[in-house]
Amino acid sequence: MSEFQRFGVKSFTGETKSSEFAAYLERGQFITTRCKQCRAVSFPPRVDCPECRSSDVEWIEVTEKGRLQAFTVVHYGPAGFEDRAPYTLGVVGFPMGIRVFGEIDEAIPTGEIKVGMVLRVVPIRLNGERVSYHFEKD
């Protein structure tokens, strides 16, 4: 199994030049790409820079805190997620200028989840060999 195929609850595609992302999650680090030429930071990571078309990128770790911009509690999920519901999805914006989409830590009571709340992104291990990340309260 390719490294990236282990990313998320369910994988749809496993081949990418960004598969290091999943390898770092395994090691407990959440990383993304920065273009060495124009310094543009991207999330999701991409090893081909759309700003200057360079493929010379470096991986940087995201450790700062961000704020929740939008969220939903999913009560009816798509195929492969039926038994997982309810789960909460959201987008968190970080001061470094990126936004990250993902699941919000199920330990946070739903009633406490509010747009604007401070969260940080934390790598997690799912059942078996799968890796992912979620957003935890600071």
């Binding site: 749809f12 999330f43 999913v74 798509p78 195929a79 936004r99 739903t110 747009v115």
Partner: protein, 385 residues
């Protein structure tokens, strides 16, 4: 105002949860409906554009079998896809073919038979609505994306669930006069509020439903239009834009980023502004989407969309009537046919054929058709004169 390309005919099948006939038969029904009363023969149609979100089709490249069944054999045809806005991208394609002088009369055929797919197959496709590499692995679906937009709009502007529900109330009122809609029963705010939560804050009745249906629009250049019909409706403005599919690459969630750039282009091409629109069809796949659309199209200022619905200004007798046919929420959503049905409603409004939901004296109408979780936006401005 431009009078180069006209819509000379517009038809559709009634939308249904399950139509019980083939895709070609559905399209034939819509084609006959569009041809009614026209001085036009099938052999006068030079080309066709077939619109479908083909991931929902059993038939590969469905343009071929549909053209055969409609009698277009031997004529050029194109299959156009942009998810829920496939119909409007088809219209833009057909307009371009005519404007370029390649063809004089072009048929745009939009359809989807959502019932052709098992619920498991539909759920599988729902799970691939967004970026499959980075976002689908978390269980993102189309409703979940729009629910997130709702949460952002609520946080930014104080929009409430009751205000969203009032969009469905208007939709159901209008659809009670529309015999082609899947849902024709009037719905109260309480019924919306008490329906099951699907993706918070959206409940079952905040969401549209899959449907089967087909629609056909017939376009002709200015030299032919007058001989085909005495009620041509002119394409005055077109606009199209796209936002990022990956939600995390969007800067804001309280608006559909591609809507305004598309609307601005269409307004400029038509030489009109939002205040000149007499009647509109907007993409109400969810109740929140209609409120956001009011703002993105310039019908209301950002954050003030709810005022329009609360004051009744988007009802058929209001200042800016929106979705007088009941919209997607009540008509149902046969993906590839949806845009065609929206355009047909505005064509009929401009011809004065809408009975109890007719907007009196409507001369300029606007259609906004979105694709996916606000990935694509197509705006079409039509005029009677």
């Amino acid at each position: 105002m431009e009078r180069e390309v006209a819509i000379v005919g517009a038809g559709q099948t009634p939308f249904a949860r399950r139509c019980g006939i083939s895709i070609s038969e559905m399209c034939f029904g819509a084609f006959c409906n569009a041809m009614e009363g026209l001085n036009l023969k099938t052999e006068d149609i030079d080309a066709s554009v077939v619109c479908s979100a083909t991931e929902y089709d059993k038939q590969r490249s469905p343009a071929a079998v549909i053209c055969e069944y409609l009698g277009f054999a031997g004529k050029p045809t194109f299959c156009v896809e942009s998810l829920c806005s496939s119909g409007s991208s088809g219209l833009r394609t057909a307009y371009s073919l005519i404007k370029a002088g390649l063809h004089d009369v072009v048929a745009v055929v939009g359809f989807q038979k959502m019932s052709e797919m098992s619920s498991a197959e539909a759920a599988e496709r729902m799970g691939r609505s967004g970026d499959v590499m980075w976002e689908s692995p978390f269980g993102l679906s189309m409703p979940a994306a729009f629910a997130m937009f709702a949460s952002a709009h609520m946080a930014k502007y104080g929009t409430t669930e009751e205000q969203m529900a009032s969009v469905r109330v208007k939709s159901s009122r209008c659809a009670s006069f529309n015999k082609e809609a899947v849902f024709q029963k009037e719905i109260t705010i309480g019924e919306v509020m008490n329906s099951a939560v699907i993706v918070s804050p959206l409940k079952l009745l905040d969401c549209c439903a899959n449907a089967d249906g087909a629609g056909v629009i017939l376009l002709a250049n200015k030299d032919r239009a007058g001989s085909i019909t005495d009620k041509p409706v002119w394409i005055h403005g077109l606009g199209a834009s796209a936002s990022s599919c990956t939600l995390s690459r969007r800067a804001t969630f309280s608006t559909i980023p591609c809507s305004w750039p598309a609307a601005k282009d269409a307004y400029e091409m038509a030489g009109v502004g939002p205040e000149d629109i007499d009647v509109a069809e907007v993409h109400d796949c969810f109740t929140i989407t209609e409120i956001i659309n009011y703002e993105d199209l310039g019908f209301a200022k950002p954050g003030e969309g709810v005022r329009l619905i609360e004051a009744g200004q988007t009802y058929p007798d209001g200042r800016i009537p929106v979705n007088p046919d009941g919209g997607i929420l009540s008509k149902g959503h046969p993906i590839g046919a949806t845009g065609i049905s929206q355009i047909r409603t505005i064509v009929r409004q401009l011809r004065g054929e809408c009975g109890k939901t007719q907007v009196h004296g409507a001369r300029i109408g606007l259609v906004q058709n979105l694709g996916g979780p606000g990935i694509y936006a197509f705006i079409t401005i039509l005029g009677r004169d």
